[in-house]
């Protein structure tokens, strides 16, 4: 029965949110797919035009509720570029620490949702257990587990708490031990390899042409990490290796898994280095001007890819226009390409590996 459309969503365990993937099947094989998004559209770009620059941070936190700090930071960075202010050095280092802690928490949330996608419920329980470690650290730092409202235009809200480096050290040491257990469970599992290897292929040329960014692009073997390609904050001074899939071939679900999984370790390294290298005292926040005119953009390496904010000010204390470029929004355009030719039973395994966050996709 060719041309038979199936709705996977808007209420489906695969979606991890509210969106609809229509797939056209011929027997068991997918011949076409069409993502339908917008169920969670909250009109952020419009709302932000009537709020002061700083107050928009509350909104950008909720763009992706599992990766709040990275999104608020991208917005603050764009506003700083527009206003032309410089964050004090210690503020930049604190930002790096918070960004990487948030990236770990976000990737662990992805791991937690990817496990059940493959029928592996232990993955959910383990990853959420370890995610609490990092949410606790973030709570120590900012006062909240989620939606922290931590970055400020010009710096961060507060200094690090006392003894924070030691606490990070302890949590990360514990986490790295757990990572070895994860490796045994995921990498050494034959079933896991069978479900992910050679499934959901995306070539590097296609990925670039369709605007796929972040870990999904690096899984295709393209060495693009904006922390290296367009260094912001103090990433230039940190010694880390962007995680790229080197084993050749087009990026499949397994490559995407490996890249994200290795990024967890890399982020741990960055956090420890940053805590060591940062100046032990000093200003962490600059005072931004109340009104600003001009335009600025900032692109950062978000947990899911390239986050780009384009902010225009017209001399008022509110932005004239804010444009949010969400990596998932662009990746979603390429999902039909990834899905075509695969089996219907693999849709969940493929879209889980892409790491969809509906909040930032629908804005």
């Amino acid at each position: 029965m060719p041309g038979f459309w199936i709705n996977m969503g808007p209420q489906h365990p695969m979606t991890h949110g509210l969106w609809n993937m229509k797939v056209q099947v011929d027997g068991e094989t997918i011949t076409d797919a069409r993502p339908e998004i917008g169920y969670l559209h909250r009109g952020y770009e419009k709302i932000m035009e009537v709020r002061e620059f700083q107050k928009n941070v509350v909104l950008t936190d909720r763009l992706c509720y599992v990766s709040s700090i990275t999104w608020s930071h991208a917005y603050c960075l764009a506003v700083e570029k527009m206003m032309g202010i410089e964050v004090p050095v210690r503020g930049q280092w604190i930002r790096v620490v918070s960004l990487e802690l948030q990236r770990i928490a976000s990737h662990l949330m992805w791991l937690a949702s990817y496990g059940p996608d493959l029928g592996f419920l232990t993955g959910l329980l383990w990853a959420l257990r370890e995610r609490e470690l990092f949410l606790d650290l973030i709570q120590l730092m900012s006062g909240a587990r989620m939606n922290q409202n931590y970055p400020r235009v010009g710096g961060v809200r507060n200094d690090l708490p006392e003894n924070f480096a030691a606490m990070c050290q302890r949590s990360i040491e514990h986490f790295l031990l757990k990572m070895e257990e994860y490796e045994k469970v995921f990498h050494d599992s034959k079933v896991f390899h069978m479900r992910t290897e050679g499934v959901g292929l995306l070539s590097a040329a296609d990925a670039i042409n369709w605007g796929v960014t972040g870990p999904n692009l690096r899984a295709c073997g393209v060495n693009v990490d904006l922390r290296r390609l367009d260094p912001y904050e103090t990433y230039e001074e940190i010694d880390f290796e962007p995680q790229v899939w080197h084993d050749g071939g087009a990026g499949d679900s397994y490559a995407r898994f490996v890249v994200r999984f290795n990024e967890l370790r890399e982020s741990c390294k960055i956090v420890l280095q940053a805590l060591e290298k940062m100046p032990k005292a000093g200003a962490y926040r600059a005072k931004p001007p109340r009104r600003a005119e001009g335009e600025g953009y900032a692109k950062t390496e978000d947990s899911r890819g390239e986050a780009l904010f384009y902010v225009i000010g017209d001399g008022d204390d509110r932005p004239y226009r804010v444009k949010i470029r969400s990596p998932v929004f662009s990746t979603m355009a390429a999902t039909p390409l990834i899905l075509r030719g695969n089996k219907l039973a693999d849709v969940v395994a493929i879209l889980g590996s892409v790491d969809v966050c509906v909040g930032e996709m629908d804005k």
Binding site: G38, V50, L202, A204, I208, Y297, A333
Partner: protein, 179 residues
């Protein structure tokens, strides 16, 4: 599997090239000449170019084919009340340079050429610009609303789409007894 390898994988260093923005600007000015109304470097790795909407495809083709700008990051539409402006962020993965192309679009005839033939990434972004700002992209394969429902009648990001602009808080000035 539907994997095509129509284009070769670009060489990627993963590192920015210092001073690249001046070089790119010089190349743009030489090759495009009168098509650029204004062009300038803003900061390291960022070039601004202002063009007319009829030159968009020529400029974008030159950027992609000759200069190797392979990544279309973002398509933005801005409502300046008397005109629209489409802003394209086009990025080079090899040297980390970003070119920001500003194309003017008249208010009474909001249409501009689509960049989907060059970058498929433009597909969703142009649909979003049509949905929220009402810019029509000529040559787009599937120009439907994307975030809002199909039967929605307005383009809400336009400045004449009313929204509550009164401040929803008591200002510090007011607390101190001012207006």
């Amino acid at each position: 599997m539907s994997v095509s390898a129509a284009e070769p994988v670009p060489r990627v260093s993963g590192r920015p090239v210092a001073g690249i923005e001046k070089e790119i600007l010089a190349q743009l000015v030489v090759a495009l000449g009168s098509k650029l109304k204004k062009a300038e470097t803003v900061r390291a790795g960022l070039v601004h170019g202002f063009i007319d909407r009829k030159d968009l495809v020529a400029v974008a083709t030159y950027l992609k084919v000759t200069l190797g700008f392979e990544h279309l990051a973002c398509v933005t539409a801005v409502d300046w009340k008397d005109r629209f402006e489409c802003v394209y962020h086009i990025e080079n993965y090899y040297n980390g340079c970003m070119v920001e192309i500003h194309a003017d679009v008249p208010y009474d005839d909001p249409r501009i050429a689509s960049l989907v033939p060059l970058w498929n990434a433009a597909n969703f972004h142009e649909r979003e610009a049509w949905d929220l700002m009402g810019i029509e992209f000529d040559g787009h394969p599937d120009l439907r609303r994307i975030l809002l429902p199909d039967d929605f009648k307005f383009h809400p990001l336009r400045k004449d789409f009313a929204q509550e602009v009164d401040r929803q808080y008591i200002s510090r000035r007011k607390i101190r007894g001012g207006k």
